[in-house]
Structures are given as C-alpha cells and as structure tokens.
Subunit: 289 residues, 3 copies
Amino acid sequence: MSDIDYNSLDLSFIQVSFDDGILVIVNKVNARNTFVASLIPELVQALEYADKDDRVRVVIFTADHTSPAYCSGANLSDAWHWNGIDPDTIADHDYRDAAGQVSLAVLRCRKITIAAINGNAVGAGATALQLPFDFRVAWAGAKIAFPFASRAVSPEGATSFLLPRLLGYSAAAALLLSGQIFLPTHPLLNRLYFTILPKREDVLPAALTFARELASSTSAPSIVATKALLLHAPSSAEDAHIIESYLFKKMITGNRHDLVEGTKSFKERRSAVFTDTVDHMKEWAPWVG
Amino acid sequence: MSDIDYNSLDLSFIQVSFDDGILVIVNKVNARNTFVASLIPELVQALEYADKDDRVRVVIFTADHTSPAYCSGANLSDAWHWNGIDPDTIADHDYRDAAGQVSLAVLRCRKITIAAINGNAVGAGATALQLPFDFRVAWAGAKIAFPFASRAVSPEGATSFLLPRLLGYSAAAALLLSGQIFLPTHPLLNRLYFTILPKREDVLPAALTFARELASSTSAPSIVATKALLLHAPSSAEDAHIIESYLFKKMITGNRHDLVEGTKSFKERRSAVFTDTVDHMKEWAPWVG
Amino acid sequence: MSDIDYNSLDLSFIQVSFDDGILVIVNKVNARNTFVASLIPELVQALEYADKDDRVRVVIFTADHTSPAYCSGANLSDAWHWNGIDPDTIADHDYRDAAGQVSLAVLRCRKITIAAINGNAVGAGATALQLPFDFRVAWAGAKIAFPFASRAVSPEGATSFLLPRLLGYSAAAALLLSGQIFLPTHPLLNRLYFTILPKREDVLPAALTFARELASSTSAPSIVATKALLLHAPSSAEDAHIIESYLFKKMITGNRHDLVEGTKSFKERRSAVFTDTVDHMKEWAPWVG
C-alpha cells in the first residue's frame, strides 16, 4: 500500500499521528459520552490503515488526559437514536451494534494494539475501546463499569465473547450482572491491565514507551501469527499442534531476513533489527495474513 | 404465574422465605452431610418457582450459620446408595448424578442467584451449591474442597464444565486433582468469591444487602439477556456481534418501560424504578427467555 | 505390563528413577538450551512407560538445580536445523514441531504430572516442559519467557491451546506478544504455579513431598477420570452432566476396592490405602482409559 499521510486525513472525532512505527489515535472530543455514531467510521478507517500500512507496528488508542473520561459510552440523552435514527424504524435483523463494529475492527487489525485508558471507561468505553485490544495500560483511578443491566439494555461490543475469555466467567458474570464500578486494581479485573499507573497524564507516555519496545523487539510476521493463533483459537492440543507446526515451519524456512537477524543478533548479544513485512503471509496461510 | 405463597409450601429440608424481591432458601438440616436425596426435589422446585415468579429478582441459597457446615456433600455412610437404592441395581445409562441435577436447575433459573457460603463447602457443597450461582459470598474461614479423588469417585455437579470456565484450567486441575482443602482467600480461588467476610453470621446479611442493591438497580430483562449470553456463550467475536446486535435492538425498541425509565432516571440523577417482567422475551428470543 | 527396570534404560539426555510410586525424570544435560532433538524420544518414551506402569502414580520432570537453567529452549546456534536437518528440505506438511510432540506426550500420560521448575524456563522450556503438566512447582527466581516474537518465530508446544485455557486470553496475549521475562510471582502468571519456593534446591524436594501426598491420598481411576474430563472438556453443563453421570455410576458400582476403602477409611478416620489400577477403564470408557 502506498504510504498514507496521516496528517492530511479529514477527521472530526479522532486525531491520528504517526511516528517511528507507532500510530496514536486520540479521541479528541473533550466530553464524557464520546461514543457517538460519527466516531465509528473514522475509527474503523484508522484501524484499517494501520492494518495495511507496513510502517505501522503498534496502534495506541487513547483520550486527552484532561477530558472528563477515557470514554463513558454512548450519550443516553439520544435515547439510543444512533445517527439520529429511531431504532423502531429499523428491521430487527438490520440493526448492527456500533460497539461491536469497533470491536471487530480492532480484532481484525494485525498490528499490536494498546488501549491507553487514562480516564473513566464505561459502557462502550469499557467494551469496544478496551476489551479487543492486545494490551491495556490504565490509570489507577479510572472507574470501570459495564452498567448494561442498570440502563435496561444488554451487553454489546462482542463483550459476551471477549470478557469471559479474557478473565473467565466468574469475573465476567460479576462485572456484567452487578453493573458496579470497579477500579483497575480490583481483584475481579486482575490481569486485564498490563500496567496500572497512578497519574492520568502518565498513561499515554507509558504506553508509548512500551509500544516502542514492542516495535523494536518483535518481528511483524511473528506478531501476526501469534495474534491469529489467539483469535482463531485451536480447539484442542492436537489441533494446536498441527496448526502451529505448519506456521512454525514457514517461519523458519525461506531464508527470511528476520529469522536470520533474530539468530544473528542473539549470538552477537545485540538488539535485532527486524524489517520483514506481512502481506506475503496470506499466500501460505490465508486465515492468518 | 399466579402468586406463590412461599410460607405454605410443604418442605422438610429447606426453608423458603420471600420478601421485597428476594427469595431466601435455607438448608435447614443442621448437619455436615446435608446433600441427601430428599433435598434435591425441594431445591429444584424452589428454583423453578423463583424462575417463574415475576416478583422474585434474586435467589439466595444458604445454610444456618450455626450448622457444622454450609454443606459437606453427601453422606458417605450411605455408600452412595442414593434414596436407599443400590446403584448396582441401576442400568449404567439410567443413573443421573444428583449434584448435576441441582447445577442444571440453578443454571436454568433466569433470576440472579447468590450462594451465601457461611460454612465449610465440600463435595456437592462446593460444586452444585456453589459453582452454578452468579455470585458467591463466603465466610473467610470456610473450608473449600473437591475431594473426589480421595474418595475414589469422579467429579460431579457439572464441575468439569463449570470450574474451568469460572477459574481456568490451571486452578481447576489443581483443585480437582489435589483434593486438598483451600480457604476462600487462597490464590487458586481468586475471583470465585465476590465478597469474603470474616464472620460466619455476617455472610447472609451481606448477601441480602447485595441482593437488595441488585434487585433495585437492575432491569429484569437485562439480567435474563446477560445470563443467557454468559450461559449459551457465543463461540467467536462475530457470533457475539450478531447475537448481541439482535438482543440489543429488541431491548432499545418497543417503548419498553424500563428503557425509558433507565434513561429518564439517569438524566434526573435519581435511582431507576424498574418494573418490566421477562415472560414476553421468549416470543422474540426463545433461547433466552 | 511387566515391570520396567528404570535403572537399566539406555538414556543419554534424561535420568529416570522410580521409588514409592513416583517416577522422577531429570534433564541431565547441564546447559541452558537443553531442548535438543535427541531429548524428545527419550522423554516421550519415559512418559509412555509412566502411563502404562501401574506402579507409577506421579511423574515429576525437573533439571539439576545447579544447571544454568531448567530449560531455556532450543539451541539457536543450530538455526532451527532440528536433528541436523535443514527445514528447507522438508515438505511443509511433513514438519512436526518438537515441543508439540512433548506436550502431547505429557497430556496423554494418565498419571499425575508435576513440573519442578528449579531454574529459568524459556521457549520450549516454558511451553512443552511446563504448560501440559497438571501441577507446576517453581523457584521464585526462575525467569519465565515466551520470546517467540523476539526470535522471529511463532508459538509452539500447543501453547496457543494450553496457555489461554490455563490463564485466560488477557494473560496469554500479554505473555506471547510482549515476549518479556516474568517471574513466577508476577500477577500475569498468577495460578500457574501451585507452589513457589525461594531456593532452587528446595523445588524438587517440595515436588517430591507433594507427589507422595498425592500418590497416597488419591485413587488412580479417579485421577484418570478427572484428567480425562479436564482434557476432553465437556462443551456445556448438559454435556458435563450426562458424561459425569455415567463415569460416576461406574465409579460407585462393581464393588471396587478403592471405593469401599475410601468410605471405610473415612468412617474409621484413617488414611485410605488405594490399590485399584486403571487398565480396565477402557472397557467401559474407551475415551478415558
């Protein structure tokens, strides 16, 4: 794909900046309930660019740390009239949950994804903008809530799949059925956050430092293969063995630059410089690449 | 369903009381090994009433806090002669595990379920009377054990499904293969208990307070939809997206009382008063309602 | 099976000793990267003996505690030329990952398996030699890493199945995509280790003490049934109920020695002496025994 000029994109709800392998997407609306209909196509588009752009190794999504929230979900005063459309005028099987569309777009992105949760995350802010990411870095004071039962609606954002597989059903049931507010350090959320930071303003810098480490220390095809194995999960040890064997064989053959560099740098006790891109992978593993 | 008079039920093993949306079921036999054959039909019946009775929002199961245990499982001196019947006289495929029957009845109940574990929980007391519930509130001193391998039998109560999905396979294998006793605060049981209390006598009151919060702050159809999504779990993010979209669409349309009230109370910064019932749900989502 | 004389086995890479129901397998090569091609058939053979030998109740795998590592994976200086064979000369679908072969052999073993991780565990040392075991006992200072993405390869050892089911996908993604080093006490590894010990030299003795407890306190057919239920996991509560009912029925009938002894010893308040073997199980549960 020809290089995208991220500075020239016409965006109203998000701001996108690219530097040194890292694409940072900032929700630029300074409000609580920023999960609005117009945000979705901009966010999905940015994730598709990141997926296709070989220069992008890591995507970070965050909000302005002075905003009243990371994202407190949809604006209830719209009474769920998404895009101004009364849902009663939509056929039952034509309706598609907006949060789920974002979750699927994040999951489809083959680059490392990090949610930098520097404020409260509620509703879609806690589902689509948090659960499908590979890593979550959070402010210790962020209020996390899944208040669907308290708003008389049901879970969205592919949460019924993502939350139990991330944390198990004991935590998922407690989080979804209680609808209560939890802090990132609460035992029920144990393991959801890779890093928890005491100050809001430190969340994005910490995510950036981690992103740079990941971008320089990992090989892009390895990340694509690993993410595919996690998302399209083998159903048994036997299933995993035969799929992993094929992928591993392809990774260690064909005189790949990154493989040679990985071994060479290890012997020379220096950092590796990885350059392999991923578009060729679909030729030998169409479900992966 | 016409209103049930819970005080007039003819029960020998459990005591059932209903007040303010909460049905409390107390195992009234003051003994260790209270998981006896006659308990099962009474318990299953009470759970079916709770499922059908629109007034019931939360079901709590507990024991008398002065009893020697919450429930230490079946009485081994019966040598597994359930109901006095020698299992050798039963055809292999006619036998049905009693603990599993209770687990299925708890899972079938569409109301919020809480196990108030105010004493030791062993065998069926730790499986059927604990694992299928939505929330577990426990006494910190309760001895928890799954000693099937030490009694020369195998896991029951749908434990081979429930325990790994609640806690993951590392904890499930350790709990089931060691057969050892663990306290609720043990890291292997991390997340199994929503609340852990230092005194036995405080467990039921804490469960009641929590139950009242849940009964007043959540909408019944939301709970039914959420429980269905957790129990009949989507198998992929795509699967979750299409199922969640349909349920969400139905929840936000049709001018539902609870939805309007949920939004209105949120704007007016007051507690919502939810009144919607759930029997209509089977008309548009037969797998849910 | 006729009794095996473990002292007379012709082994170059592992040392096997049997005493009092416990088979201890020690990786006897004193090096970092001990996961070499010649180790695999010896290890698989030892696990098959343990599976078939009625005298063996528990298998422990460990390394010499003075070795530079428990196992730091394959030797990268071989450039993945397994057994000296250039993988470019192997057809794509003929290649089989060595770590996965070990994982499957450990999972197939019907006896209790314990990994005594008394040093660093990296790559295959952290996958095949750790994840498929029933219990993991670790040295607190052991460096644990899954650095596939940093070596430009992809996960092996059936890790894409085993790691998420042991710990959930949030931890699995963080461990596999970061490739970083973690200590056993790190929250991401919470629950992976049954016991964590401050000194390397105490790991094997602790594993042995635990193994003896398990060997004397559990009935072999119960362990086989429990392991089968965990490995070939029921897909729903209903599925679990019908499978568990059948297994339980067979366990409590037929006047089995261990069942009678389990009940008798419980009544007499003494330790049980279990003697039942497992080969008969395949006659009534071919997927288990």
